[in-house]
């Protein structure tokens, strides 16, 4: 009975179970992550919120396959993550655009590196750029674009090879508060249209509540997940919705867990 049920239920897009990570440093081992477990379903938007230095970025490196876990298991679509995968698109804190490439060429970088079919990739890149409001900027260079546009380019680049999973590491941390809200609205729209599975790392509670289906709260040193909270609000959401009772309560709940985490 249970075996049959397990066979029917699809494997989660991302499976993190009992993962621990210990760095070896000159002054002895440092435990960055302890007993992290988190399943992300297909098409789900999950945020990870936590104080600075809680190991959010370490978790991200594990998911990207840039580093190996000391303990536990990470899997994508049921297959263990052993290294970088083509099924993942990454957006870092900085846009990391190559200044010698035009916006279009920057977006096509994954296609070049993964040796994808150039014409169809270009077509997809143009469609994505238009969707992100960057139509007409294909031949511009990154330094000719504003900070927000550079970040949108980085998101489009992460989507161009049609990854299963989109990993975002505090992608708007460097932006001013107003641009930041606009980017979150933009991301909600892009997500609604592309329906990617997203893991979004942030230390903004508002951003997490605005964007996510579920929010994982992390504690510092060693990083642990102290709570996973559901966000019941329907989409499209606006930042004004954050003041509505249900979401305000959710924010308070996150804050309470963060406070506990800090203590």
């Amino acid at each position: 009975m249970s075996v049959a049920a397990a066979r029917v239920a699809p494997a989660p897009a991302l499976e993190v179970s009992a993962v621990g990570l210990t760095y070896r440093t000159t002054s002895g081992p440092v435990e960055a992550l302890r007993g992290i477990s988190l399943d992300v379903r297909d098409g789900e938007f999950v945020s990870v919120v936590g104080p600075s230095g809680c190991g959010k970025s370490s978790l991200l490196k594990l998911i990207l396959g840039l580093e190996r876990a000391s303990r536990g298991r990470l899997a994508m679509d049921g297959r263990e993550i052993a290294g970088p995968s083509r099924g993942v698109g990454a957006v870092f804190q900085a846009p990391v655009l190559l200044p010698w490439r035009t916006i279009e060429e920057n977006v096509l970088l994954p296609a070049d590196v993964m040796k994808l079919d150039r014409p169809s990739a270009t077509e997809r890149a143009h469609a994505l750029l238009t969707m992100a409001g960057l139509g007409g900027f294909e031949k511009k260079y990154p330094y000719e674009l504003s900070g927000g546009m550079q970040h949108r380019t980085a998101i489009v680049r992460a989507l161009v090879h049609d990854p299963r999973l989109l990993i975002m590491d505090e992608p708007f941390a460097a932006l001013d508060a107003i641009t930041r809200e606009q980017m979150a609205i933009e991301l909600q729209r892009i997500w609604t249209e592309s329906r990617k599975t997203v893991v979004f790392i942030t230390h903004s509670i508002g951003e997490a509540v605005f964007l996510s289906d579920r929010i994982a709260v992390m504690s510092a040193r060693p990083g642990r997940i102290t709570a996973v909270l559901d966000n019941p609000a329907l989409r499209p959401r606006s930042f004004a919705d954050l003041t509505k009772p249900a979401l305000a309560e959710l924010s308070t709940e996150i804050r309470r867990h963060l406070d506990l985490a800090i203590q």
């Binding site: 990207l64 970088p84 990454a90 190559l98 970088l109 590196v113 993964m114 330094y143």
Partner: protein
């Protein structure tokens, strides 16, 4: 006609027209200041009756330059020396860049070769020039080798520095895309190193001029260096200054050409992007 054309062109063209006018003005400034300086020197030499074997008057230098160019000896010598400079520069720089890439890609090679490269660099090129004449003769090839050895170091060092100065985010970016080391080199490291390499080439071309002249001093049949020695033996200081002016102009022109290539190739350099 031209006025009409400039008033009707869009903003970007008008901007470049203004840029052209500004650079033309700067050129004029330099010419005028040079003319004033030369006039002062000329006047001083005439007033104090300085002998031409002590310091030749600018007018005498100009005349010697004209004579040398008109009778073909200067241009022939310049042709020989320029061949040495450009040949040696090309060989030295290509070797330097290739070796730099190899040393960054293969750490073992770096550990094995680098001490020798530094050791070779500390030996003055003048000191090994006689050896090169013994090995490669009085012809053009010995000078090309000397110039190549001179240019090798700056291009090598700058290539290594440029390839290593890659932002860790850019490495993570390529790695997360399943990129190989060869792809990291091609898509990130080499373009990143380009401004460094161009700076190395610019140092190299100036050193190449010095290397070629030094090589010719030690042993050659023709070339700018030989002209200098001949003028020196004849105490013909006007001719000597004329040759020096020619070398300086050659060096400036070569450096300027490289700078223009650099501005085209590294158009993005210095523009803020993260």
């Amino acid at each position: 006609m031209t006025d009409l054309a400039t008033t009707e062109t869009p903003a970007t063209d008008r901007h470049s027209a203004r840029g052209f006018r500004a650079s033309a003005w700067r050129g004029l400034e330099r010419l005028v200041s040079l003319a004033i300086l030369l006039t002062i020197i000329e006047g001083g030499i005439r007033v104090f009756d300085v002998q031409p074997y002590v310091f030749p008057a600018p007018s005498a230098i100009g005349l010697a330059l004209y004579d040398g160019i008109a009778n073909g000896t200067f241009l022939h010598a310049l042709g020989v020396t320029l061949t040495e400079i450009l040949g040696g520069f090309a060989i030295g720089s290509i070797c330097g860049i290739t070796l730099g890439i190899a040393m960054v890609q293969v750490p073992l090679l770096d550990r094995l070769i680098y001490p020798y490269v530094v050791g070779m660099q500390t030996v003055p090129k003048v000191a090994i020039a006689p050896l090169m004449i013994v090995w490669f003769g009085f012809g053009i090839s010995s000078k090309i080798v000397i110039v190549a050895l001179t240019c090798l170091f700056p291009s090598l060092v700058n290539t290594i520095a440029g390839l290593r100065a890659v932002d860790s985010d850019r490495i993570a970016l390529i790695t997360a895309m399943c990129g190989s080391r060869a792809q990291l080199l091609r898509y990130v490291q080499l373009p990143n190193a380009l401004p460094y390499i161009m700076a190395g080439l610019n140092t190299g071309i100036v050193l190449a001029v010095i290397g070629a002249i030094v090589g010719e001093f030690v042993g050659a049949r023709t070339g700018i260096g030989v002209l200098i020695l001949q003028a020196n033996f004849g105490l013909d200081l006007a001719a000597m200054f004329a040759v020096l002016v020619m070398i300086a102009v050659t060096g400036v022109v070569l450096s300027f050409i490289l700078r223009q290539i650099e501005l085209r190739l590294c158009f993005w350099s210095g523009k803020a992007t993260k």
